[in-house]
């Protein structure tokens, strides 16, 4: 809100004039604002069930108010720490591996001179992005069986065959690995777009100075990518507490809860499967609030260090 007054001050009494002048802009924005109000902000009202012992038959007004009972119940439960840890770790690994993989692949593809071949490679690496999670998980399950393809490869290196999806120690690897498979190519788009905009004269100048390919990557390409990387990274860190549960519930089993169960899948199980609607809403709400706090922190940090910020 402080930001508005910052706008208001210099314009002073002309606010009404300005509102009038931009009336068509507001009119165009109206349907979009309505969409956000109805489908995103109105939903916050229903989060009150997190503080109620919500019984659908009794409605919101008829359900008993229980305050923070469900929040406490979650934080005290034996699973709270494990869920938070798994959520954070899966995200951390995704940032460490999936996020950087796209950057590396973009730098490598950018080095290719043969445009036709480059095109083919791009077409192929983008393709997995279009496949639905349901299909990806089904394939991953098949390939992870003890006589599946991944085991064939591992066996060639002398690793003992096992079902990879039933072993907690492989879950994160498979989760992040399949994420890389599906989205790394797609993730390069933005970096390749940026690289293609790099001034060619910079490269020429560097080459004149005797810089080799690798040095040019380090001194020209990477600095050019830096602003994009930082913004992307903030946005990614801003989702530190969010994991798409659909992929998790398609891949996990009680045998792998140890590493696979994340907050969102737990909410799904308790809230939807076992009908603890209020408990599910409470944990979900807590998750969102903590996530927002992390994002705000990351943004503030970036603003101070890098002068780059989301808002």
């Amino acid at each position: 809100m402080r930001k508005e007054s910052a706008i208001r001050k210099p314009s002073g009494g002309s606010l009404r004039k300005k509102l009038y002048r931009y009336r068509y802009i507001y009119l165009m924005l109206l349907p979009v604002v309505l969409y956000y109000v109805i489908f995103h902000y109105a939903g916050i009202y229903y989060s009150v069930i997190a503080f109620l012992d919500y019984k659908p038959m009794k409605g919101i007004s008829g359900s008993r108010f229980v305050g923070l009972k469900y929040f406490e119940e979650f934080l005290k439960s034996i699973y709270a720490w494990r869920l938070i840890r798994n959520t954070l770790l899966i995200n951390l690994y995704q940032i460490l591996f999936a996020f950087t993989a796209s950057i590396v692949l973009a730098l490598l593809i950018h080095q290719m001179r043969d445009n036709k071949y480059k095109n083919v490679i791009q077409t192929i690496t983008y393709m997995p992005h279009f496949i639905s999670i349901v299909v990806v998980c089904s394939l991953l399950t098949e390939f992870s069986e003890s006589d599946g393809l991944i085991n064939d490869v591992l066996a060639a290196f002398g690793v003992e065959r096992t079902n990879l999806l039933s072993d907690p120690k492989y879950f994160r690897t498979l989760f992040v690995g399949s994420e890389i498979w599906q989205n790394v190519g797609w993730g390069t788009i933005i970096y390749l777009a940026t690289l293609s905009g790099v001034d060619q004269s910079l490269h020429e100048a560097a080459a004149m100075d005797g810089a080799g390919r690798i040095q040019r990557i380090i001194h020209v390409n990477i600095p050019a990518l830096m602003p994009v990387i930082v913004i992307q990274l903030i946005m990614r860190v801003g989702r530190m507490m969010l994991v798409g549960f659909d992929k998790v519930i398609l891949l996990y089993s009680p045998a792998t809860y140890e590493t696979a169960d994340v907050i969102s899948s737990y909410v799904y199980r308790r809230g939807l499967y076992e009908r603890n609607y209020s408990y599910g809403a409470a944990v979900g709400l807590l998750n969102s609030v903590v996530n927002l706090a992390i994002l705000t922190g990351a943004n503030a940090f970036s603003r101070r260090v890098n002068d780059t910020s989301l808002w």
């Binding site: 930001k3 490679i121 393809l149 293609s196 979900g284 709400l285 969102s288 808002w311």
Partner: protein
């Protein structure tokens, strides 16, 4: 000195090509695997282990089964509806919002940017969302699948960035000619950024095409189910402990899993080469600053 360097460079280049080629084979193989399997003979397929470098035998029975399944056909129809109507609504609302945000100087702009971006990081969760959709009276209707995803904030921001890159002169001269904002958007902004528009359409189409979770919770009537929900059902089908005793039916079920995957991804894969040439131009996400 120079020779050695050239040799080193060549090695690097060769290494780079080799690595990227190997990697794209890894990307491609699972799709080929499914494709080959889908044309295989059910019994040979069951017995097959390891890499698959071509169909095992040849049969179209998987596809016959898929296309005879009334649920799949109905699901296809529903998915087409969601893709067409949903994307149309997306491509009306998103440019409107993006245009407004791309213009500078109007009061409360930052407030609205924050209002939109906030929703990317804060979601109320499944149960409250469900109750909202219910209170809007949209449960068990097609609107429950289309309206809650009418604007994707990420796409909105990408489009806003693209609009911000349109030269100011174009817009100013149009104003002088007496054009309205809506006209400027439709007749100048959208054509100038047509690469971005194409990519946006693709993003939305893919989103609608692959959607299954909302359908699962907002729809209980299978009349409105999209294709992906039936695909999920076929893929998750597990005969173990089941009482199906028709061997041929069980073998066929395994084959059908592959055929249905192909049926579910081919339409979307055929759209995307047409849009691919716009990718690099279209996704100039230089910054997402508000």
């Amino acid at each position: 000195m120079i020779e050695r360097r050239n040799f080193g460079q060549k090695c690097l280049t060769a290494l780079n090509y080799a690595f990227i080629t190997a990697f794209s084979l890894v990307c491609l193989y699972p799709l080929l695997h499914v494709l080959f399997a889908s044309f295989s003979d059910p019994i040979l397929l069951i017995r097959h282990r390891g890499l698959m470098l071509g169909p095992q035998g040849f049969s179209l029975r998987g596809y016959e089964t898929v296309f005879r399944n009334p649920n799949i056909l109905q699901g296809y129809g529903n998915t087409m509806f969601y893709v067409i109507v949903g994307t149309t609504i997306n491509m009306i609302l998103t440019p409107l919002g993006a245009y407004a945000l791309s213009r500078q100087g109007w009061p409360f702009r930052k407030f609205f940017v924050f209002m939109f971006v906030f929703t990317m990081y804060f979601s109320v969760g499944i149960v409250p969302s469900f109750m909202l959709v219910k209170s809007l009276g949209m449960l068990d209707s097609r609107w429950a699948i289309i309206l809650p995803t009418a604007v994707n904030t990420w796409n909105l921001i990408v489009m806003r960035t693209a609009f911000a890159g349109v030269p100011n002169e174009l817009q100013e001269s149009a104003y002088l000619d007496g054009a309205s904002d809506l006209r400027i958007l439709v007749q100048i902004y959208m054509p100038v950024t047509k690469a971005t528009m194409a990519v946006m359409v693709l993003f939305y189409v893919v989103e609608h095409w692959n959607e299954w979770f909302h359908s699962m919770i907002y729809l209980t009537n299978n009349r409105y189910y999209p294709l992906q929900l039936f695909v999920r059902d076929i893929l998750l089908f597990d005969g173990a402990g089941g009482t199906t005793e028709d061997a041929a039916a069980i073998y066929l079920k395994e084959l059908t899993k592959y055929s249905v995957i192909i049926v579910a991804i081919v339409p979307i894969l055929t759209v995307y080469p047409f849009v691919q040439k716009y990718f690099v131009k279209g996704v100039m996400l230089g910054s997402v600053k508000g």
